[in-house]
Symmetry: C2
Subunit: 226 residues, 2 copies
């Protein structure tokens, strides 16, 4: 594995900011960087893995093959770790990661990562806190998926993109209608219909992948009411 200079990296994770110079050297000596274009598979479900994966720049989707096809379990935006759960608890990837835009990824050797966990409690604590927050977010996502109807789920996912991913009321959808369906558990036809329905109600305007939220409070109401 090629050595890279993590000390000089200006896109360190919150956890890595706790590392000393020598610890950063351990990291840099066991780390490789790679760039992925939109659509590229970063790692694949059921493949063996021996790396922790850090998303340095970009946006990706995590997807699981379920009983009825693909389910997009979540989007992840840099900076964050992608492969923690898959590589630590289990050697086999339990899901796939696919780039939704040009993304930079660091592959960290799992033994080096474990060594850092062993020697730096602050680093470890940050990782733990991040995991806790993920678990909570996942609980809430799941509740919304199970309890809301499709119209509300769609509204919720558009709000999520606007708020969490793009921090803007206007953006280009990083997903096809079919992928949005895979994310909220419905068919591509229903996504089409409901996106156009939202546009007709004047809640959003849509043109191809370009979307603009016109009435955020109403969209929030739809997202909550179902």
């Amino acid at each position: 594995m090629r050595s890279i200079n993590c000390s000089a990296c200006i896109l360190k994770s919150t956890a890595v900011k706790n590392l000393t110079v020598s610890e950063l050297n351990i990291l840099g000596n066991n780390c490789a960087e790679a760039v992925f274009k939109k659509g590229d598979i970063i790692f694949k479900q059921n493949a063996l893995s021996s790396n922790i994966i850090y998303l340095r720049t970009g946006l990706i989707k995590l997807a699981i093959e379920g009983p009825q096809g693909t389910q997009i379990i979540r989007l992840k935006k840099a900076p964050c770790y992608l492969g923690l759960p898959t590589t630590m608890g289990d050697k086999i990837n339990q899901y796939s990661a696919v780039a939704l835009e040009l993304s930079t990824v660091c592959f960290i050797d799992i033994h080096a990562f474990k060594e850092l966990l062993r020697i730096n409690p602050d680093f470890t604590y940050e990782i733990l806190i991040r995991m806790y927050k993920n678990e909570l977010e996942q609980f809430h996502r799941c509740v919304k998926l199970v309890q809301n109807q499709v119209y509300g789920r769609l509204a919720g996912s558009l709000l999520y993109l606007a708020e969490e991913i793009y921090a803007s009321q206007e953006f280009n959808l990083p997903l096809s209608r079919s992928e949005i369906g895979d994310m909220i558990g419905t068919s591509r036809e229903t996504v089409s219909r409901m996106i156009n329905s939202l546009a007709q109600e004047g809640v959003i305007s849509i043109s191809g992948k370009h979307i603009k939220i016109l009435n955020k409070s109403l969209l929030e109401k739809i997202s909550q009411k179902g």
Copy 2:
């Protein structure tokens, strides 16, 4: 907080087994044990919390108030930690825990717990691994809930109870029809109908809360096919 003797505890968590005698004393000096009867609330969503909660014996449900009423996000069987995600990342409980049978719980002061995380890497690593596994399990649960139809979800939850909770083909349901509905995202009427439907098909036999799985492989097929 009363001091208890964690060294002598025969129901230690995998993580706690890594602690030294002096570390166990830190734990014991910052730990209180309590017993909860069936139906008792162990902690409540939106309440402030300053404890890590270890389920020593018993069975509980974790529930979130969603937009359309209560959602049971998961059952947890001793031995395990209940309060990790709620108390670490966030001071306010994001969900409630309710005893489904007589349960013993240890309340661990969060500062003592953090101190153990700081001083014992093996302890911390076990906690991390447990978190990773939880996240994966949660992903899979969520995919099944979103993709399967109610009949399959019900079959899945009955299998889960038989395999993971009771390790037996025959047991008493710890949940009412209505609670099962809250767990799989459907109405109590539909649960009633489908439980009886499974019984008519000869897949299970049911009498009140007492359930016996008669045709496990068919139940698994239903659980997978939806």
